[in-house]
C-alpha cells in the first residue's frame, strides 16, 4: 500500500559500488521509499534519556515524518509514544519540550493519557462499553536504548537494536561516554535546528567527509588558525594520519585521534586549563586511560541513519522532504564535571554547528548547491556521484576498536570509505537485503 508500488525504483541499478545516481537526492518516490524502509522499518535514533531527567519531562521528535513524544514516566521508565490522541489523532504536544507533566490531555474532547500512554479517563464514560485498552496511545513496534541513547523501530520487525548497532556502534557510543568521569551525559542545552534546502543524505555524507575541509572550510582555517582540525584534517594529504572508517551496518567514522598533534586538541585547550577534569578522569579510569582519553577525545561518526556523533555534539538528521532537511544539534554535555567545562563545550558547540556557526552554514550552502546541481531527469545518463576516492588504498579492518565484525574498512581520512560504507548499507536496506 506504499505510494511506490508501481514503477518501483531500481536501487541496485542506481547504487553502484563506486558511484550512485544523482536522482536519489531529488526523486520524490525515493524519498517515500526511504521513509518506509529506513525510517519506519529500521532503527532510528530518538533522543538521549538525560534530556528527560525527571518524571514528567518530555520532548517531541519525528520518526521520519511521524510525530512522537519521548517522556519519562513515574516509574522512571522512558516511553516513546505516538504524538496523536488515540481517539481522533489530535496532536497532544505541539512544542519541543516540557516538564512537570502528570498526564497528557487532548484539546479536542479531553481524553487523558498517562505518561505511559495508557488511556486514564475520558469525558462521558457511559458512551463507551467495555474496556478501552485499544484506545491507549500508539507506540513504535520496538523501543530500546543503549547507555541512554534511545532508538525506535516503528514496524517492530527490525530485529534487536544490538544487531543494528553492532559492536562498533556500541564502541563509538562508549567512547563518547568515557569522557564523563561518571560515564553519563547531561544532554539538555537544547537542540538547535539548521534548515537546509537539500536532501537528507547530503548530511550523513558531509558530516563524515574528510576530504572537503581545506576548501569548503577554508574561511574558517584562515580566520581561526590552530583549531583541532589543523593537523587532523587540514594538513597535507600524505602527512595526515587520520583515518576514514566504515564499521559496517552504515556506521561510518572519521577517526581523528590518530591525526591529532596534541592532547585535548578536540577541546581546543590544554591540560592546565582543565586540570580538575583531567584529575577526575584519572580518578575514574586510571591515569593511563585518562591520558589516552584526553588525547583521543570523542568520536566523529554516524550511527546509521540519523545520529551523528559530532565530537562534542550530538546531531539528528531529520528528513523533511526530498529537497529539505533539518540538521539538529546539541552539545555533548557531560555528567560529573564542573559547570565551567560544560560551558566550554557549549560555547564550542555554538561555534561549530547551527545556522550561525563557523562551520555548518558552509556545509549547508554546498548541500544546497548539490541539490540544485541534481535537478536532473532520472534518466540522465551522466548523472552520477563519484565515490571512487581511495578505493585502491582502502584496507579491510575489523573496526577501530578491535570490536569489529570483519565488515570494517579503513582508508585515508580524506577517502570516500565513509560514503561507500553509507551507500553500501543504504543499498542493502533499500533492496531488502537487511
Amino acid at each position: 500500500m506504499s505510494a511506490t508500488d508501481s514503477n518501483a525504483v531500481d536501487y541496485r541499478r542506481l547504487v553502484e559500488d563506486r558511484r550512485v545516481h544523482g536522482s536519489l537526492y531529488t526523486d520524490a518516490r525515493v524519498f517515500e521509499d526511504e521513509l518506509d524502509r529506513i525510517f519506519r522499518r529500521g532503527w532510528v535514533f530518538v533522543g538521549h534519556d538525560s534530556e528527560i531527567a525527571n518524571e514528567g519531562d518530555w520532548v517531541t521528535r519525528r520518526l521520519g515524518r511521524e510525530p512522537v513524544i519521548m517522556v519519562r514516566a513515574g516509574d522512571g521508565r522512558v516511553h516513546v509514544l505516538a504524538n496523536r490522541c488515540a481517539h481522533r489523532g489530535t496532536m497532544l504536544c505541539w512544542q519541543d519540550r516540557g516538564g512537570g507533566r502528570r498526564s497528557f490531555q487532548c484539546s479536542y474532547h479531553g481524553w487523558v493519557f498517562g505518561l505511559d500512554g495508557r488511556l486514564r479517563s475520558l469525558p462521558g464514560r457511559s458512551g463507551f462499553e467495555g474496556a478501552l485498552e485499544r484506545l491507549d496511545l500508539a507506540r513504535p513496534g520496538q523501543v530500546a536504548s543503549y547507555r541512554g541513547f534511545v532508538f525506535a523501530n516503528q514496524s517492530g520487525d527490525a530485529g534487536p537494536l544490538d544487531d543494528h548497532l553492532g559492536p562498533a556502534g556500541k564502541a563509538l557510543i562508549d567512547r563518547a561516554l568515557a569522557l564523563s568521569p561518571v560515564g553519563r551525559l547531561a544532554i539538555g542545552a537544547g537542540w538547535v535546528g539548521q534548515r537546509v534546502a537539500s536532501n537528507w543524505k547530503m548530511w550523513p555524507e558531509s558530516d563524515n567527509d574528510g576530504y572537503h575541509l581545506a576548501i569548503a572550510h577554508a574561511s574558517l582555517q584562515k580566520a581561526v588558525p590552530g583549531t583541532q582540525y589543523e593537523a587532523a584534517l587540514f594538513s597535507p594529504e600524505l602527512d595526515n594520519t587520520s583515518q576514514a572508517r566504515d564499521h559496517g551496518r552504515g556506521h561510518v567514522e572519521l577517526e581523528l585521534r590518530s591525526g591529532y598533534d596534541r592532547e585535548l586538541a578536540w577541546l581546543g585547550t590544554t591540560r592546565d586549563k582543565v586540570q580538575a577534569y583531567a584529575d577526575a578522569l584519572a580518578k575514574a579510569h586510571g591515569r593511563e586511560m585518562a591520558d589516552r582519553l584526553l588525547w583521543d577525545g570523542p568520536p566523529h561518526a554516524l550511527i546509521f541513519p540519523n545520529l551523528f556523533l559530532g565530537e562534542m555534539n550530538l546531531a539528528i538528521i531529520q528528513p523533511v522532504g526530498p529537497d529539505e532537511t533539518i540538521h539538529y544539534h546539541t552539545p555533548l554535555l557531560l555528567d560529573g564535571v564542573d559547570e565551567a567545562l560544560n560551558r566550554r563545550i557549549l560555547r564550542q558547540s555554538e561555534a561549530a554547528m547551527g545556522p550561525a556557526s563557523f562551520f555548518l552554514p558552509d556545509d549547508a550552502v554546498i548541500a544546497e548547491r548539490m541539490q540544485q546541481g541534481w535537478r536532473v531527469d532520472r534518466a540522465t545518463a551522466d548523472g552520477w556521484v563519484d565515490l571512487g576516492r581511495g578505493v585502491a588504498r582502502e584496507r579491510r579492518d575489523g573496526g577501530g576498536d578491535g570490536t569489529g565484525d570483519g565488515a570494517g574498512r579503513v582508508g585515508h581520512v580524506s577517502d570516500e570509505t565513509t560514503n561507500r560504507g553509507f551507500w553500501r548499507h543504504y543499498r542493502d536496506v533499500m533492496t531488502g537485503r537487511t
Binding site: 537544547g190 546539541t330 557549549l346 555554538e350 552554514p361 550552502v365 541539490q371
Partner: protein, 164 residues
Amino acid sequence: MIGLSAEERAEIEAFVFREARLADEADYAGWEALLTDDMHYWVPFGPAGYEAGARMSYINDNRTRLATRLRQLMTGHRHAQTPPSPMRRIISNLELLERTEREYLVAGNFALYELSAQATRELRLWAGRTTWRLRRTDDGLRLCRKVVELVNASEPQWSLAFII
C-alpha cells in the same frame, strides 16, 4: 521616542539606520567600526529570557568571537555568504527603554528580506525585535550590545551567516 530631545532622537535613529545599512551592504569593516570593545552580540534560541551561555544560542559573541566572525566573512571564502546576500531590513517601532548618563537602551521591531544568492536564490524573511545599547563616546555613539530576538527563534533556521 519619548524622553529624548529632537536632536538625540535624530542622532539615535541615524545611528540605528546606519548600522542597518552597513550590515545590509556587507560592509563588515564599516560595521565593526561602530562597536565598543565590550560589544556583546546575542541572537538567543527562543526569547531572551535566559542567561546567554547557560543554554544554546544562535549567536552569543563577545568582542573576540565577533571579530573572528567578521574576519571569516572578510576572507572572501565564506561560501555561505559568497556572494553576500543582497538584503534590506526594515526597522520600526523604536522605543527608548532606558537611559543612563552615557547610554541609551533602544528597542524596535524589524523585518529583513534576504536573497539567498549563494544557491537557492530564494527570498528569505527574518523578523523579530532588536535591542540596541548605545554608548556616547568621544567618537560619538557606539554600539555596545545588540540583542536580536527572532519571532520564530524556536524553529529551525536557514543559514544565518550575515550580520542580523
